[in-house]
Symmetry: C2
């Protein structure tokens, strides 16, 4: 099967499972609607696909990793809802649609984010209850560390407290490592953990570290040269918001060079994980994207 078809197949698998997980929840209609509004807003499902791809490449079972992969997507989605709030980045649009708080108001948006974070852990605990197996605890713990104040939340703190500041390369890398890097790393690590290939954790870490940095540099580049229509968000927003980025730090040309360097390193480690070529294709797809 070619890459695009395999990718779309995995996206459908994730969407279908997320639909199932969000049906028949005994909760006020409006909060389910608000959570689903952002969860099904056209996200590319990069993180859950990484979990599934690594797990499959290491001969793990797709159905074993699926709910954990979906939980990661819930956590990613909650972080976007909260990041977009007026008190934070104050974004009106994401992926070409109104942000959660623009549709449901700030209060419901905050609660929808809380609800998604909570439901991610509830979903993972549900798996642990069904399967009495240490791997699932290890995977959930990996995710919890990555999404908490030592990871994603901490990165967002560094981000919002540094608006308007000039920060050096190390601080910029450290911010992104926490804000987006750790959850991408956890996504790959849980693939190895669920496949019961703990011996691959060093390699998945190196792969995801390089992938994460390259991905962020591409993100910063697209904010400068991307097309608004394809991105579904305002171009030049980082500069307008005085956000430190790779482009403001190094300029466009050096940033593109760095993106290439980190991409090649990521591919090198992808080769050690996957002999089907999917993870390599996925890596290229993520790093050569236009949106």
């Amino acid at each position: 099967m070619d890459f695009k078809k395999t990718l779309e197949y995995k996206q459908r698998l994730i969407n279908k499972r997320l639909e199932d997980l969000f049906s028949n929840i005994d909760a006020p209609q409006i909060i389910i609607e608000a959570m689903k509004y952002s969860l099904f807003a056209g996200g590319k499902r990069i993180r859950p696909i990484l979990s599934i791809a690594v797990c499959e490449a290491l001969n793990g079972r797709t159905e074993d990793v699926l709910d954990i992969a979906c939980s990661i997507e819930m956590i990613h989605t909650y972080s976007l809802i909260h990041d977009d709030l007026p008190a934070m980045d104050n974004d009106d649009y994401r992926r070409g649609r109104l942000t959660n708080h623009k549709v449901y108001g700030d209060a419901i948006a905050i609660l929808a984010g809380d609800g998604l974070l909570n439901y991610a852990f509830e979903t993972m605990l549900n798996v642990m209850k069904r399967k009495n197996d240490k791997r699932f605890v290890d995977a959930a713990f990996e995710i919890a560390k990555a999404s908490g104040v030592t990871g994603m939340i901490g990165g967002q703190v560094i981000d919002i407290t540094n608006v308007g500041n000039i920060i050096d390369e190390n601080s910029l890398i450290s911010m992104h490592e926490r804000k987006t890097g750790k959850l991408i790393e956890a996504s790959c690590n849980v693939g190895a953990i669920i496949a019961n290939r703990y011996d691959f954790l060093e390699i998945t870490k190196e792969y995801s570290k390089n992938l994460g940095i390259a991905f962020q540099i591409v993100d910063d580049i697209l904010d400068v040269i991307g097309e608004e229509e394809k991105l579904g968000k305002t171009v030049g927003k980082d500069a307008k918001n005085n956000k430190p980025t790779y482009v403001t730090l190094y300029g466009l040309e050096k940033s593109q060079e760095l993106a290439r360097e980190y991409s090649l390193k990521a591919l090198e480690f992808a080769n050690k994980i996957d002999n089907t070529g999917f993870l390599q294709d996925l890596t290229n797809y993520l790093l050569n994207r236009e949106s």
Copy 2:
């Protein structure tokens, strides 16, 4: 040992463990400070004490339930921080001190709440990693259900979407059951679970259900007749905010009668759980409080 001394001993135990859990976290200083500001704001530790009291009464080990009890307190604290936000209840004071967002700003307050919720699950997963035992998974799952959109978050949604509405008794009970009842119930249930006395779950549910309703009625009464100084918050706030309460629904006298009725039922079930008298004393203490 007399009740007050035992209570204070347990509060110190919880505070000490929380202090330990929040030392040496590798995260930006400001977010740790903001989380601790609300976590150590003079809370009475009712929920974790319920977990410990039920666990001990059923011959479970205190050290087995302690981290789970502390996680419940983190979840309770995060919910207070988010509830107080301008987008929600817009409260400037809680327990006589400025609310989190008044000190740290809305962005950090949102992230401090997120961080506490995430860290609660991280803490429980850490226990599960150390002790490979189904009880800890069951306990964490119980808490996740209680704090999510089917429980506490759902209750808050009903609350904020009903400001200014007149709702009937069933809706009022259902709102409180979700908003505060379910987490109180989970606090008691995990005590029985960690003590490995699943056969007591029906009794802990009945106990906590009656306790929760009585507790809420007392809360509503105190909002009308309490002393601001003792409460540390504005009296008459519910009426000012057009919030439906037991007192607006039934009047003061009938509410006091109902509080007595539910208290007696709670005590009846407390007798079935605890033969040391502590849970009974705790119940009386919670329902005869002035703040």
